[in-house]
């Protein structure tokens, strides 16, 4: 039995080594170096229906670099989940992958992200705005090549609202039904940010904690209690906003670029897109602010072909690759050179997303403490919706929310 097991193992091992040898067989006939790069991105980037962005870019990259004979291995991991998958086992993960910047610390804690420096950092900086660079910079080091911004803004029906109306939530509520993801803590803080609440100072000062308490926050809670009673204000929960837009009962909703195709299908030419409106709090005009982040190309710090991997990452974030990404999948480009491109500059979604990023958003903090900030805010939204938060207890409920956001986990 033991003998047989041994033989079986030997057989398996031989088969394995043969297989892996086949994987990199075409070893440099003409002096080129043969390397293997594993690349991960979302499945849409690789599907035939949407033009195989990743494969096309990788082949273009290979053509640009005849000194390497590259074998690409593709895997599926979208930006939101890539960080967790990579940090689970960096040594068996992609050399180059796309990730959302709110997971930056997950990756750096696992020591899975390579720092970009020297000429690469300069090149990235040359086509990326400072705010965007900051979103993937930690302790002064650049950890990726940003290729798009990630935030939410407003879609509306042009037949109902004028361009003047969409600057103010109050004006909109007088004219038509507006749906807002009230019980989603990625959206609800917009109102609190508007009245001077902050998270971790400028977003990186963990020691300052969350400042969602105090007089100004309680005022917002009071405002929200009244807002939800407005018959023209509807809570968007579980896709009800999109359903309402479809059947015509809702005229404006808040979402991001991932819903733009569906909304365009519903509203057609009547689709309007705009940065966040202002709201009126005790007679004063306050701006709503969304969370903003970015998506970036990261390089695995344990990659065996570091130079090629970094070059590929920079290429995937370059104007050419971003342009293709936009053409194939409507991924909003962030490259500053592309903003002069007439097609792109005229796209309302691009305009709105960039306007939101520049003007009406706050960089989503990625300090570890941030994980405690989601549930309390969501609970506040739910509390207001089911009337357990009232004008009478608004102050103490807001303080409780702030305490929970500043506490470590379960309190």
């Amino acid at each position: 039995m033991k003998q047989r097991l041994k033989r079986l193992t030997a057989l398996l091992l031989t088969a394995l080594s043969l297989l892996s040898a086949a994987g990199c067989s075409s070893a440099g006939a003409s002096g080129e170096q043969s390397i293997r790069l594993m690349v991960w991105s979302a499945s849409e980037d690789q599907s035939k229906d949407s033009g195989e962005w990743l494969q096309t870019c990788c082949e273009n990259f290979a053509a640009l670099h005849p000194e390497w004979d590259i074998t690409f291995v593709y895997g599926v991991a979208d930006e939101a989940t890539a960080a967790n998958t990579v940090s689970q086992d960096p040594s068996a993960s992609a050399d180059v992958f796309l990730y959302a910047n709110d997971n930056l610390t997950v990756l750096t804690d696992a020591k899975a992200l390579a720092k970009l420096g020297g000429k690469y950092a300069d090149e990235v900086a040359s086509f990326t705005s400072d705010a965007l660079l900051e979103s993937v910079t930690l302790d002064g080091y650049l950890y990726g090549v940003p290729f798009t911004t990630n935030t939410w803004y407003m879609y509306y029906d042009k037949r109902v609202f004028s361009e003047e109306d969409v600057k103010s939530l109050d004006a909109m509520l007088e004219k038509g039904v507006v749906s807002f993801p009230f019980v989603n803590s990625w959206y609800l803080p917009a109102f609190y940010f508007g009245n001077g609440c902050t998270l971790f100072g400028d977003g990186t000062q963990e020691e300052l904690g969350a400042d969602f308490g105090g007089e100004n926050a309680a005022q917002v809670t009071d405002y929200l209690i009244d807002l939800i009673k407005n018959p023209n204000f509807v809570v968007d929960d579980g896709g009800s906003g999109m359903a309402g837009l479809r059947d015509g009962s809702i005229k404006a909703m808040f979402s991001g670029s991932w819903d733009s195709a569906s909304i365009r299908e519903i509203l057609g030419d009547n689709m309007g897109v705009a940065a966040l409106p202002t709201y009126t709090l005790n007679g004063e005009t306050k701006q709503m602010y969304s969370y903003a982040g970015s998506k970036a190309v990261g390089v695995n710090s344990q990659s065996e072909n570091m130079v090629a991997a970094v070059e590929l990452a920079v290429y995937l974030g370059s104007a050419e690759a971003q342009r293709l990404h936009y053409d194939l999948r409507n991924v909003i480009p962030s490259n500053t050179e592309l903003m002069d491109d007439p097609d792109i500059a005229a796209d309302p979604v691009v305009i709105a997303q960039n306007d939101t990023f520049d003007r009406t958003s706050k960089l989503q903090p990625f300090v570890p403490q941030m994980t405690n900030c989601w549930t309390p805010v969501e609970n506040m939204g739910r509390g207001i919706r089911n009337s357990s938060v009232t004008h009478a207890n608004a102050v103490e409920q807001t303080t409780a929310m702030n305490d929970a956001m500043n506490s470590d986990g379960i309190s």
């Binding site: 895997g75 086992d89 068996a92 896709g239 999109m242 479809r246 819903d259």
Partner: protein
């Protein structure tokens, strides 16, 4: 008079019992019905405002099997089926063998083994998932088609821990039958396959069912081990992906269709094996 009031009270209690049962049946069946209904929805989107679809369609099912560039459902279905069938065979064999040994053979480690298995069984399996992942990686089973093998090992490796029920069942078969067979010259293996197993159909069926269902519906191990290998995804991962924010608006109704489809093999298994299943608690030898 007395008889009448007895009849009457019987009637009343019947009404109450049936009313309660009707409510419970509704509560249990409703979610299933709801999923089935949703799978026939012609309208897009994830928000359902009415129970009955405004118009029926089979497109969701068709899309599941034809729109394979983004989420390859047929492939996932096949993956899951292969994994479930093989882990079912392997773990049924392991579990029944272990149960038989513990029931029939007296050896020194018997008691310690049973205690150890009992204690280990108290811990949820996914506690070990990261360790399991690294072990499989060290053996080289975490890439390509070998992932399926890895998953089969994951699902069937711990089967022997759950021997209690089957051992209890084998214990009810009189040892005299084994002795009689031994006198006739049977080996242990022959007793096991020719006598004990045929006498224990209900528990064999029960084991087959449970060991088919657990890999069929498992999410955690598949997620940890498949990682970015989309061609190895199982149905559970595929269905989960359909509910992510980028997909949900287009894939929600397909998700319901997929949920209906994965319940079919399980339902078939149950229907087919139900008659053995029902007299499962009766004991082994009758008459």
């Amino acid at each position: 008079m007395k008889e009448k009031s007895y009849k009457r009270s019987k009637q009343i209690s019947n009404i109450i019992v049936h009313a309660v049962l009707a409510v419970l049946a509704f509560v249990w069946v409703f979610p299933v019905l709801w999923v089935v209904m949703t799978s026939f929805w012609a309208e897009k989107g994830s928000y359902v405002s009415t129970f009955f679809p405004k118009s029926f369609t089979l497109d969701n099912y068709i899309k599941l099997f034809t729109d394979t560039t983004l989420l390859n459902f047929p492939k996932m279905f096949l993956n899951t089926l292969i994994i479930a069938v093989f882990s079912c065979l392997l773990s049924t064999f392991l579990l029944l063998s272990v149960s038989y040994c513990l029931s029939r053979m007296k050896f020194k480690m018997r008691k310690p083994y049973m205690n150890m298995a009992m204690v280990l069984g108290l811990f949820p399996g996914f506690m070990s998932m990261i360790a399991v992942y690294f072990i499989l990686k060290a053996v080289g089973l975490t890439e390509g088609n070998l992932i399926r093998v890895a998953l089969v090992f994951c699902y069937s490796g711990g089967a022997a821990i759950g021997f209690q029920v089957a051992k209890g069942f084998f214990d009810t078969t009189p040892y005299a039958i084994d002795e009689a067979a031994m006198l006739d010259g049977c080996t242990r293996w022959q007793i096991f396959t020719k006598i004990t197993l045929p006498l224990s159909k209900p528990i064999v069926i029960y084991t087959v069912l449970t060991s088919f269902i657990s890999p069929w519906v498992d999410f955690i191990f598949a997620k940890v081990i498949c990682r970015a290998n989309a061609d190895q995804y199982t149905v559970a991962i595929g269905l989960w992906r359909m509910l992510e924010k980028e997909y949900i608006d287009n894939w929600y109704t397909c998700f319901a269709a997929g949920a209906v489809l994965i319940s079919i093999p399980i339902a078939l298994l149950f229907l087919k094996m139900q008659k053995y299943y029902v007299n499962g608690t009766g004991g082994a030898v009758k008459g």
